[in-house]
Structure formats: C-alpha cells, structure tokens
C-alpha cells in the first residue's frame, strides 16, 4: 500500500504530462499536475525550513563543536523570514496603493531586496569566483600526457586555449591565406563546431534515449527504486 499509492500517483501524473504534450484536450490536465507539483513543493518547503531549524537548534542544544555558527544561521534565518514576510521598507504597489503590504517583497528599496543585493549577491559572486581557481587546479592535475588519448585531448585543449587568446592570432598569423584554416583561431572554431558539437550531440542523443527509457520504466511501474530500494 505504502508503495502502491505513490507509484500510481507517479504513473497517472506522468502519463497525463506525456499525453498533454501531444493531445490538446489533455492540456489542462498537464497544467493541473504542474500546479499540484508547485503546491506540493511549496508545502515541502515548510519541511525543509523545519529540518534546517531542527538541525541547528539541536546543535545549539547539545553545544556541539561550532554551535556558534548554528546560532548565526538561526539568527540570519529568522531575520530573513521576518523581513521577507513583514515586507519591511517595501514601497506600496502603485496599482493597489490603498492596500497595505501590496508591494512585492523583492521590490526595490525594501529590506529584503537590500539583503539580496548587498549580502546574497556579493557572497554568491565570491563563491562563483572560486571556480576560476578550481578550474586551474583541476586542469593542472588532470591534463597529464599519460597515454595516446590523453595526448590527443591535451593537444586539442591547447589549441582551443591558444585559439581563444591573442596568442593564437600572433603565433599563426603568418600562415598564408590558403592555409588560413590552420590558424589557431580558426582551428579552435573548427574544433568546437565540428568535433565538439558532434561529440556533444552523441552524448545528448544517448541522454535523450536514457531519459525516455527511464521515464518509461517509472511510468510502467517497473522501476520503483526512487521510492527506496528493496521490496
């Protein structure tokens, strides 16, 4: 029972979504299920917040190492909720000027928008910036000319890298026009357009087939492992 109900929900919703893509009269059905998903996701959000609060409160309660951070998390969590729900500093929506709290919580000038713009965005950008460092470190470790494949990959990468910089233009600019295809910048474009695209599409076709087969398995109720392994 515990497994049958979710399985059937998945099967029915899945088929509805599939049908609505091809059969116009079932379109609304697809939309309905889409809405249902959003509602469920929204309710689940309460569980998510609950989990967050519980884990951090427990940490504080047990005085686990680093519990101070949990306190900071909880404080920030509370502030953001209060600020967001209370719409502090949010200007009135000019369309519904008469109604209190009619402004959007994200509206420019509100406290929530301030948190977003002056706390979240810079922090996010910092994290994102780390990526540059990681790309370098990963490339440094992974690109070792160990075997034939690696050498091929390495040289291709080298061409692309040079072709995308001025160095490429400078290095191979002397090539006559009839051999312009061999100029690094052109070579890199060619590699990206032909080899890369072809390879990428092969992967995409495989993925597409994989997605359809996976979906079909779920729709036919053959694959129930998403509900937990075992029977």
């Amino acid at each position: 029972m515990r497994r049958m109900v979710p399985m059937w929900i998945a099967i029915i919703a899945g088929f509805a979504m599939l049908l609505s893509a091809f059969f116009p009269m079932t379109e609304s059905l697809g939309e309905t299920f889409g809405d249902v998903f959003n509602v469920v996701a929204a309710i689940a959000f309460i569980l998510g917040a609950g989990s967050l609060a519980k884990v951090n409160l427990a940490k504080v309660s047990r005085r686990d190492p680093g519990w101070g951070f949990a306190v900071v998390t909880l404080i920030c969590f509370t502030i953001t909720i209060v600020v967001g729900l209370g719409k502090f500093g949010v200007p009135q929506n000019p369309q519904f000027a008469a109604l209190p709290w009619s402004g959007e919580k994200e509206a420019e000038g509100g406290a929530f928008a301030w948190i977003y713009a002056y706390a979240l965005v810079p922090i996010t950008a910092t994290m994102f910036a780390l990526l540059a460092f990681y790309v370098a470190s990963a490339a440094f470790r992974a690109f070792r000319a160990k075997n034939l494949e690696a050498i091929l990959l390495l040289s291709t990468a080298f061409i692309i890298l040079l072709g995308r910089t001025f160095a490429g233009v400078v290095l191979t600019g002397w090539l006559p026009d009839w051999a312009s295809g061999l100029r690094l910048e052109n070579l890199s474009v060619y590699i990206m357009q032909v080899f890369n695209t072809a390879g990428n599409r092969a992967i995409i076709i495989g993925i597409a087939l994989g997605v359809s087969a996976t979906s079909l398995r779920i729709l036919l109720g053959i694959d129930r492992s998403w509900m937990g392994s075992g029977d």
């Binding site: 070792r144 160990k146 690696a150 990959l153």
Partner: protein, 595 residues
C-alpha cells in the same frame, strides 16, 4: 650436511632425508608412517619416530636413538645421525582460525589473507557487512571452536567504533578453543592503533590471551601482513601446538620453528617465484580440501577451498559443479544414477582407489571440476586492494578501471605446480597435464610440473633456515617437469587455422606444424632437452605478444612434452552430448591420455 624433515599430516607422517653430496643438496630417501596424534597413541612423536625409522632402514644410517629421539651427529664426518631436523604439521585438522574485520572486502579480507598466508584454515570471517545480524554473528562465534582469533579493522586513525563493536561481540560470545578447557583463547589484534586501549580493556581477563601487532591495513592503499603472519606463527607454536599431544617434545627436537604445512608450501613457492622472477600457481588437491597458492607480480595469495576434495568432499564437488559439468569431461558411457551412488560410496569410504579405467576417467573428471571451482575461488580472492582512491587524469576518461581486479592472469602465468593424490598419483603423466590444462585453462606459454612426493612443505621450512638447499632440492628432486602448455587466448573457429609452431635447437628444426581451431597436439620433448619454440597465432589470437603477433620462447623438455592447445580461451565445449564426446575423445587420443 644431512637434514631430516618431516610433515605430520592428518593421516600420515612423511619423512625425507636431504643430503649434501659433492656440494649439491639432494633428497635421497623417504619414509612414512601413520600419524599418531589421536587416541590411543596421542603423541605425535611416535609417528615421527616411525617415519624416520623407515628412513634409517632405507639409508643405512642410524638416525633414531634407543629412546626414540632423532640423533644429531657431532661432526659432519660421523656416519650416523643428522645435522638438522625440521618439521611441519597439519595434524588434528591444522591451524583453525576465525578472523574478523570491519568491511568484508577490505580489512576482513586482509585479515583472511594474513591467516591463510600463515597456513591457517579460516573457519569464518566476521565483518560488519557480512549480512548477518549481530546476534547471528554471536551465535556463529559461539559455535566455532577456533584455535586462534585474528581481529582487524579500521585504518590507522580510521574507524574505531565498528572494530570495538566486533570486539564487543566476540568477548561475550566467549568462543571456546578446541583443545583444553583452561586454555586461554589466543586473540591477535591487528587493527586501528587508536582502538588498542579499548581492545585491551575488552579482552582483559576474559579468558583471552591478547597480543597486539601493527595494523595489517594501515591505510586502505597499503596492506602490511608481515607482523600479523609472524605473530600467527608464534602463537601457533606457543599456544596451539603446546596443547596438542606430543608437540612439546617435537618442538624441542626441531631446529627450526614448526610451521603449519600450507604455510610452508606457500613459503617455498614464494621463494621460487622470487628466485626465478616468475608467476607461479600451485595446487594441492586433497581428500577434503583443495589448497591453491599463487604468486603474481611478487604478491602471494593462498586460498583453501574447504569442501572441494577428492574423497571426503567428492560428493560436494559433484553437487557444487553439477553432474553435467563433471560428465562433460567423460568420453565413456556412464549411468548417472549409478555414478551418484558411487560418488557417495567414495565419500563414506574415502580411502578406496579406482580399479577400472572407467572409474579412473570419472574420478579425473571430478578432479577437473574440483580444481576449476577452487581456481575460480582463488581468482576471486587474489585481487588488488579494494577501497583505494583512483587518481584520474583525462587519459582515463575512456576506461575507468576498478579497484579489486584479480591478480591472477593466466597469460602471465609461467609455472603451474600440481600436487595431491589425484594429480601426483595419476597412472600417466599425460593425465596430470591434461587435468591441469582443462581446469586452469592456461594461456600463452605455461610450464607444468608436479610435486613428486609432496615435498614442498619440508622445503618450505628448509627455506627458512637454508634457502640454497631448499632451492636445489626443489628444482632437482621435488619438481617433476611434465612439459609445456601452449595455448592462444581468444576464440577459435573450429577447423580454421589457429596457429603455427616451430621448435628449433641451434638452427635445426625439431618440429613444425599447424593447428586448427579445436585441435590438441602433443609433441614429445624429452626431459633434459631444451630448445626455442616459435609460435605464430592467427589474427585475433594472442600468445602473449598481442593478438596475431608471433612469439618465441625457450622451452625445456618434460616427461610429457609440449601440449599445443588450440581449443581457444575461454575454453568452450560443444553443446550436444554426441559432439562433445567426440571432441573429448579426440583430445584424449591426441594426447595419449588413456592408452
């Protein structure tokens, strides 16, 4: 130099005499007598004295004193006595151990490797993921009566919780040792060093004799079995042997520590593999169990297939392999119901020997399956370490290799050593060779030898005190070279050319020919001869140099010769019974197996 060596087996005690003559060590005489470890004698030295007495009668030297002890001579010029006495023992069922670790495939497996390598029989392996509930594990521990327990688990600085958990299961279960009720059960801890204090606390005063050695898996990337193996040997002598009847005396007699028989066999094979820089597989097929040893790339592994044997366990071999698998090697008409009853009769009367050719053919068919199954188990156990981090580069994007690959590679295998009744007592050497080839499916060039009189245990101990003597005797007297198996890896097409061979010596061609798929051929190449064998395989077939590439190699002659095997690898037999019989009969005929 005169050395007396004995091996106290569970039924017979075998003694050999090794003498240095003209600077070369040779094995000269042998004798045997029933082992006397059980009632009514209950003193192992009686059997030893009897066996050595036989040596004395044969050699003419006086070796046994009037009080039954072995005489040592004062100088090498004395006629009587010997200079050294060494012994191995597997009497009373050998050394039986229980091992434990955290993860079955990791520390528990390393612990098992350590125990098996030391020559023990592993009764059970307890691990946190052995799919048994804790109370089931406890039940099992209580049922077992091991001689010794080896506990491992956790890398150094790694898991302590589960190691201690396992210790906490073993302690209240209080396994009782086999011998003596007041005897403390020896327990060796070779796990996470951070768990040592807790382990000491758990096993203090609980009837355990705890000893702690270095972690046998300090990191997952490294296995360090030496200290654990040595401690097993020590404990075997101090605790287990001391409680077996007569062993206190035997230990006094011996000049080197008494080793468990399989441990000694492992040692000699390791010595040989290292000395000649080759990969070796050795097998000892017994009545109840089959011991398999391998050294690949210098890494030694041993497995004991507990219920694969030719007498006590013959029925189990048939049950495990299936009668169909056994009968596929048989070219004669046999009634299955009759055979099943015969198998059971052999099981309950294990000492009988086949009298008719038919019975021999059947028994040898069973032995192929026993060996094959034991080899499968061995391959699964002899692996690279599991749980190792893989450092990837872009070059690995296409093949992501797994950890835990089998070390056993039939193409890299150089020498197979056969021992045990059914192999070493086969009426014709060709039978031994074919049984080994059928069961192991060697690829490329593989030399096949048999242990003439099961001398390997003696030589293993000898290797620890006099490696030169051990090596010389091993090469000259222990091994009987049967010859070579030359077989390509890959699928052959029946009737289509498979490979060509040319055997030359100093420019003269001794033999030349071509084999087609599914064919076997024997080229006699007598013992003592040597030559160069060149083989040119067809496309898709590999003889060791790569698919389709020719290869040549020095070969020695043997009592069988060179067996060319173009049946392909993996070996496939025809599906229908009639075709299969015809095939098997053809092979038997071309190798002159049963004449």
């Amino acid at each position: 130099m005169r050395i007396v060596a004995t091996d106290c087996g569970s039924t017979t005690t075998k003694a050999i005499l090794i003498e240095e003559r003209d600077g070369v060590f040779r094995q000269t005489f042998r004798g045997e007598a029933p082992t006397t470890v059980e009632d009514p004698f209950a003193d192992v030295t009686l059997g030893v004295t009897n066996a050595v007495t036989e040596l004395q009668e044969l050699s003419g030297y006086k070796l046994i004193a009037d009080d039954g002890t072995i005489i040592r001579r004062a100088s090498v010029n004395d006629v009587d006595g010997c200079d050294m006495y060494i012994s191995t023992s597997s009497a009373g069922g050998g050394l039986q151990m229980m091992v434990a670790g955290v993860v079955r495939e990791m520390t528990a497996e390393s612990a098992k490797r350590a125990a098996l390598g030391a020559g023990a029989i592993v009764m059970d392996t307890i691990a946190s993921n052995d799919r048994r509930k804790p109370h089931e594990q406890i039940q099992r521990i209580r049922e077992l009566r091991p001689d010794m327990v080896l506990v491992s688990g956790g890398t150094d600085g790694g898991d302590t919780k589960k190691v201690i958990e396992i210790a906490e299961l073993i302690a209240p279960a209080r396994p009782r040792p086999r011998f003596g009720s007041e005897f403390c059960l020896p327990l060796i801890f070779a796990g996470n060093k951070e768990a040592r204090t807790a382990i000491e606390r758990i096993f203090s005063g609980e009837g355990f004799a705890l000893s702690i050695v270095d972690n046998l898996r300090p990191t997952l990337e490294r296995e360090h079995l030496g200290p654990a193996r040595e401690r097993i040997h020590d404990v075997f002598l101090e605790h287990v042997m001391a409680h077996a009847p007569g062993y206190d005396k035997l230990m006094e007699w011996a000049n080197a520590p008494i080793m468990p028989t399989p441990g000694a066999v492992g040692d000699i094979l390791q010595t040989i593999a290292k000395g000649r820089a080759i990969n070796v597989v050795g097998v000892d097929i017994g009545g109840a169990t089959t011991d398999m040893f391998s050294v690949f790339g210098g890494i030694f592994n041993r497995t004991v297939s507990a219920n694969l044997g030719m007498s006590y366990s013959i029925s189990n071999v048939c049950a495990e392999a299936g009668m169909d698998s056994v009968l596929r090697w048989v070219h004669l008409d046999m009634d299955e119901r009759e055979l099943r009853n015969r198998v059971k009769n052999k099981m309950i009367r294990p000492t009988t020997i086949p009298q008719t050719l038919e019975a021999l053919v059947f028994e040898q068919a069973v032995s192929r399956e026993a060996l094959r199954l034991a080899y499968v188990q061995h391959k699964a156990f002899a692996t690279t370490l599991k749980g190792v981090q893989q450092q990837r580069t872009v070059g690995d994007a296409f093949k992501q290799e797994e950890a835990g690959k089998s070390l056993v590679d039939n193409m890299a295998l150089d020498l197979m050593v056969a021992s045990g009744g059914v192999l070493s007592h086969a009426p014709r050497m060709e039978q031994t060779a074919l049984m080994m080839i059928d069961a192991f499916e060697p690829e490329g060039f593989t030399e096949i030898a048999k242990d003439s009189i099961f001398m390997m245990p003696h030589l293993g101990v000898l290797a620890s005190v006099n490696p030169r003597a051990a090596m010389e005797v091993f090469e000259k007297d222990c091994l009987v070279i049967l010859g070579w198996c030359v077989a390509p890896r890959g699928e052959v097409r029946a009737g289509k050319p498979a490979f060509e061979y040319t055997l030359t010596r100093g420019g003269t061609t001794l033999a030349h020919g071509q084999l087609v798929g599914g064919e076997m051929r024997l080229v006699r190449f007598a013992l003592g001869e040597s030559g160069t064998l060149e083989v040119r395989p067809e496309k898709g077939l590999d003889m060791g140099a790569g698919a389709g590439k020719p290869i040549s190699r020095e070969v020695r002659g043997g009592s069988v010769g060179i067996v060319f095997d173009a049946r392909g690898r993996p070996l496939k037999l025809p599906h229908t019974q009639a075709e299969r019989r015809a095939c098997v009969e053809k092979w038997l005929k071309s190798l002159e197996v049963y004449v």
